[in-house]
């Protein structure tokens, strides 16, 4: 299959996962042209990473995943072993910038553009040592001295900088924000991330499937179901295995429970950051009830290690399903009451409305996906039917309705979260009412040399995991991609024109993952 007359032949990835086509670019020019064509058709750049293929008799490889209306396009480009360079895609897709820099830090393959600043490497290892090269060996002795980072300077009368982090004031992940302000107004925000980089991709190299699932399920703890499912989907696609309908429906149940848990927590935090502590205690009470039932029925408050390659590690019995359905009723009643209170609270609405706006054009420019994209009116949701797109099992039969709000501000992100809570509760009731039969877990026999990609609509947005197996059937390379890669730059735009004290509320309305992008 070809897309938009570009001369690259794609093949559909087999299996029950999201619609995805795989192809190879003959050269850098091909990759760049394909990217331009995707951009012209309002597509997105979803992920980009690199791999060392020298032990397979090749050089290096760049992997890029794009999205068009009908699904995802996974394109690879082989690079020579000496001087591996590929075309800079950031002029086409701004989202490429940080992913390209991370790719250099880890694999040592370079894009040919301007911005060659390190992204994940802060000085913890030497600049000419690349952890994901097969011959990297143990990290060399090296003094861990934080390097200076060249923030973009903004001049002008009265402009000054406010550096924040890496350790922030609350109980929150670390990262650095550099505000340039005039008075209180934000002229520019530049983020520096990577503080939580823990070498997860290197830990994944050589891992078996069960270790891989544990590691990928801990890329971002609040999205463990989404990551575990995307990883399982990638491994299953690579090995030609299809989980049973029962396993797929249970996965959906777990994923929707994860979505509700996060939205409940964030809706409480959003109330709190707008000086409405009542919201925090009410929503946190509901969230605690919610995760306690997770522990009771599925054995873990945040559902870690419940989704595994081949299926799921847990079943739900009739009593568990009844408790789940009953809780969905109660929580819906309570959340609707709380939403009325939020909607009618003048102080809250005053803070939420028009704050931290982004629009659909920016969302497209930054290849944003997920909840924040839907809050600008874009109906992007991997679980939902839309023109030219058929969602994978089990979403097709569940007929998921995407939430949407066109305002693009904090109020819109709050409204979308409420709507998504209700829709997830509907799905949960539907799932709890009738799980199909089938094995919980089927055996996944590794296919040496095979590759696969999994795409899952997590609560923040699109979670993608790419897996390549080695000749020994173990994981040779695995790249987990969090949607926060694309959404962090959107936050840089959302704060412009507002004042610094509004930042926590705007930030919380996105609630992006640090660990997920730092991996």
């Amino acid at each position: 299959m070809r897309f938009h007359a570009e001369p690259i032949d794609f093949e559909r990835q087999p299996g029950v996962g999201a619609p995805l086509w795989r192809g190879r670019a003959a050269d850098g020019e091909d990759l760049l042209r394909f990217a331009i064509s995707v951009h012209r058709h309002d597509g997105r750049l979803c992920a980009l990473w690199g791999s060392d293929e020298r032990s397979n008799g090749h050089g290096f490889r760049v992997h890029a995943i794009f999205a068009l209306d009908e699904g995802w396009q996974y394109l690879t480009l082989d690079l020579p072993a000496d001087d591996p360079v590929y075309p800079d895609l950031s002029g086409v897709f701004a989202a490429a910038n940080r992913m390209q820099r991370a790719t250099f830090d880890l694999v040592g393959i370079r894009h040919d553009g301007e911005d060659q600043r390190p992204w994940l490497r802060h000085g913890g290892w030497p600049a000419d040592w690349f952890p994901l090269r097969h011959d990297a060996g143990d990290s060399p002795a090296h003094e861990n001295r934080p390097t200076d980072y060249e923030f973009v300077k903004v001049g002008g009368e009265g402009a000054h900088e406010i550096p924040v982090g890496p350790i922030h004031a609350g109980i929150i992940e670390p990262g650095h924000f550099r505000f340039t302000v005039v008075g209180e107004r934000v002229l520019r925000l530049e983020q520096r991330l990577g503080y939580l980089h823990k070498g997860t991709e290197r830990r994944l190299a050589g891992a078996d499937f069960s270790t891989g699932a544990k590691l990928v399920g801990r890329v971002s703890g609040d999205s463990t179901c989404a990551f575990a499912w995307a990883f399982a989907g990638a491994v299953e696609a690579a090995c030609g295995v299809e989980p049973s309908p029962r396993a797929l429906h249970l996965r959906a149940l777990l994923l929707e429970r994860e979505r509700v848990a996060n939205h409940l927590g964030d809706l409480g935090m959003l109330g709190n950051d707008a000086a409405f502590g009542f919201g925090l205690s009410q929503f946190f009470r509901l969230k605690e009830d919610w995760v306690r039932l997770n522990a009771q029925v599925f054995g873990h408050r945040f559902l870690m290690d419940r989704i595994v390659p081949g299926g799921v590690a847990v079943d739900a019995d009739a009593a568990g399903l009844a408790a789940i359905a009953g809780q969905a009723e109660t929580i819906e009643r309570e959340v609707r009451e709380l939403q009325r209170i939020y909607d009618e609270h003048a102080g809250l609405q005053d803070r939420f409305l028009t704050l931290g706006p982004i629009d659909a054009a920016l969302v497209r420019e930054l290849s944003l996906s997920g909840m924040a994209a839907r809050a600008t009116g874009l109906l992007l949701d991997a679980r939902c039917h839309r023109h030219g797109y058929a969602p994978p099992a089990p979403w097709g039969t569940l007929a998921v309705r995407p939430a949407s709000d066109e305002r693009g501000d904090v109020a819109a992100r709050v409204a979308v979260r409420f709507a998504e809570v209700y829709e997830s509760l509907r799905l949960i009731r539907l799932l709890a009412a009738g799980l199909p039969g089938g094995e919980l877990r089927v055996e996944v026999a590794p296919v040496p040399g095979a590759a696969g990609v999994g795409v899952i609509e997590g609560w923040r947005g699109e979670v993608i995991v790419g897996v390549q197996l080695g000749a020994d059937g173990r994981i040779a390379r695995c790249h987990p991609h969090d949607p926060s890669w694309q959404a962090w730059p959107a936050l840089e735009h959302a704060v412009l024109r507002d004042i610094v004290p509004d930042f926590p509320l705007i930030n919380k309305s996105f609630n992006l993952s640090y660990s997920g992008q730092d991996i």
């Binding site: 994940l120 802060h122 000085g123 913890g124 290892w125 952890p131 143990d138 990290s139 861990n144 934080p146 890496p166 350790i167 004031a169 609350g170 109980i171 929150i172 992940e173 670390p174 990577g194 503080y195 939580l196 980089h197 823990k198 070498g199 290197r202 830990r203 270790t211 544990k214 590691l215 801990r218 890329v219 971002s220 703890g221 609040d222 463990t224 927590g265 009542f278 925090l280 205690s281 009410q282 946190f284 009470r285 969230k287 605690e288 995760v291 306690r292 408050r301 945040f302 870690m304 009451e337 709380l338 009325r340 209170i341 009618e344 609270h345 993952s513 640090y514 660990s515 730092d518």
Partner: protein, 172 residues
């Protein structure tokens, strides 16, 4: 205002023992009381995420929900290590956070307590081993700063966290 008050009254005080979870609630009360009795005043805690996946932080957040109600009882999370009696640190400590963690430790006035949180932060169990030292991390918190008490778990439950905090104040 009325709907808010109505909701508050309807909810009641959830930290009271519920029939099925009565033991947990009594235990929470007991732990809180003992912590405050030993410290003799409010206990202040600075939480430092030095490399966590964020699930440990979710459970630390839960300590402030109405069921555990830590802040309401006088155990406060503070913004600066300079105001803290205790550091609650999650890991594995990344190389990129090693420096910031050391600064936070040095900025915390003596006598200070350090509680390492989670299998990653404690370097224990299967997950602790998976996230052990490598080119990007130093592994357990104790590899970077002295630790008084370890709270294992992936992530540890709020109750386990509370027990760990108590164990730490008991060492004084």
């Amino acid at each position: 205002m009325w709907p808010v008050l109505k909701r508050i009254l309807k909810t009641g005080i959830v930290s009271e023992p519920a029939p099925e979870a009565g033991d947990v609630h009594r235990e929470v009360d007991r732990l809180n009381d003992e912590i405050l009795r030993i410290v003799g005043r409010a206990l202040t805690i600075r939480e430092v995420d030095a490399g966590s996946c964020n699930a440990c932080e979710l459970e630390i957040h839960a300590l402030n929900n109405p069921y555990y109600n830590l802040e309401g009882r006088g155990i406060k999370f503070v913004a600066s290590p300079r105001h803290a009696d205790m550091l609650l640190v999650t890991g594995p400590v990344t190389k990129n956070m090693e420096n910031a963690l050391k600064i936070a430790y040095d900025s915390t006035p003596d006598p200070k307590l350090v509680v390492a949180v989670g299998d990653c932060g404690c370097g224990c169990g299967e997950v602790g081993a998976l996230f052990g030292p490598n080119y990007a991390t130093c592994g357990a918190v104790e590899n970077v700063i002295p630790v008084d008490v370890r709270v294992p778990g992936c992530p540890p439950t709020p109750l386990a966290l509370l027990q760990g905090i108590l164990a730490a104040v008991r060492t004084r």
